[in-house]
Amino acid sequence: MVVGLSAAEKVYIAGGIAADIRGDGRGRHQFREFNIDTSVIPQANGSARICLGGTDVIASVKAELSVPPPGRPNHGKLEISVECSPTAAPEFEGRGGEELSMDLSRALQRSFLGGTSGAGAAIDLAALSIVEGKLCWALYIDGLVLSSDGNLLDALSIAMKAALSNCGLPKVEIIGGTSPEEEPDYELSGNPEEFTRLETSLVPVIVTLTKVGKHYIVDATAEEESQMTAAVSVAVNKKGSVCGLTKRGGTGLDTSVLLDMISVAKRHSAVLRRALAFAGLFSSPNVEKRPVSFCLLLFRRLDANGCRTK
């Protein structure tokens, strides 16, 4: 994103962050208010759209029947990709968005897919297996950036988590061919009431801390991101384990600062998860019937009480 800022604006942004009151009135460790819609894409198995300030992203999960990956007969497949639409910025026209798309997809893959053996993946890959060595679910998670005003990675991770929670896999009935030499014979249930949900409690959320001057902030806007010296994106799951880390930006970070940032990110992820659970998004059993919209206005207050760091 190209942000044209004058020298005075740059000083204003840096000064505001140093004084703990940013351009939009937030403190250094406050998120913007956000809004989540689920089931926005009827053709997908699960989908969610999140508007975080001026950032607007859609995540969809499509499930296809596939053959298990070689060497791991009792696992399913999980794939993540991100696309930046030119609607977000004219610079993304043609191949212009590819670099950023790749950067975001790689960061999300690092945090969601676990190791090459599938250990530590956001979704239990063994749960996606249907017939060992023959049939499994392949989940394709696609992110689309429609509008961009900073903090894309966090927004995408929240949208993907919500889309996975929203995802329903149709029931597969095996009617024959279970012996090793036969091809499996199956039937997909046409009943929309019959589906299984994914266990998504271990799906991480990503919190990006952006360092501007001496301080670091959460949920940076595009203007603030243009002034960053370094940024660390930390993916944290429910257990509080760090699932993925990405450091960006031109300058180096002290190890002590890095560890401090990770602990702050961890606290924020807990608040984020609580706020999402508070909205009932991940516990409600009837979210797939119609698009449900949650406005997380309370989030700010929760944040101010629970997670102020000095």
Partner: protein
Amino acid sequence: MDFISPEGLRLDGRRPLELRQLQAEIGVVEKADGSATFEMGNTKVIAVVYGPREVQSRSQQQHDQALVRCEYSMASFSTGDRRRRGKGDRRATELSLVIRQTMEAAILTNLLPRSQIDIFVQVLQADGGTRACCINAATLALADAGIPMRDIVASCAAGYLNSTPILDLNYLEDSGGGPDLTVALFPKLDKVSLLQMDSKIPLDVFEKVMNLASEGAKAVAQFIREKLMENTKQLVLAKGR
């Protein structure tokens, strides 16, 4: 395959001369100069306009009129089966060109010399009639950006299946093998600006289908005008005068 039941209903329960439900929203992308989503049934498109602004590459600058550019893209999850489409595939290139030419005809380009207008259309859900839906969304986005236009452009598709002309085909009907005719017109001037058809039909049937598509486009135009009116009223209210 029977596309129309003996009771005269289509696969999705519509009558042959019925449009799908239309929905539109203006001003959906904050940072853009103009933006809108347009839905025709399950087909959903978002269009965003950047400009008029400085021409990005000097060589393309025109001293007597604005440069209009368009890019069409499809989200990988927009179709029934997931597939990744490259940005430069033939269909996307052709559609970008079609939308650009249609919108260029409507924009008063001579009023905005040495400037550039970018139109980006992104298909979120494809269920037939994306061409028409993209043009309708682009019209709304251009109007939202305040770009001077001769008239709004409204578009609709029609086809001919089971010896019946039918309006606003969905994906199933679109792939039914009959002709698919897309019309875009200027409703006030009553002029056609885009006309595309594939397959073949006799001339007298063509006239019927063509008239049907034009009628559909006029109904869409009415809807677009109401939406713009509603939006303008809201802006007036917000301004407090």
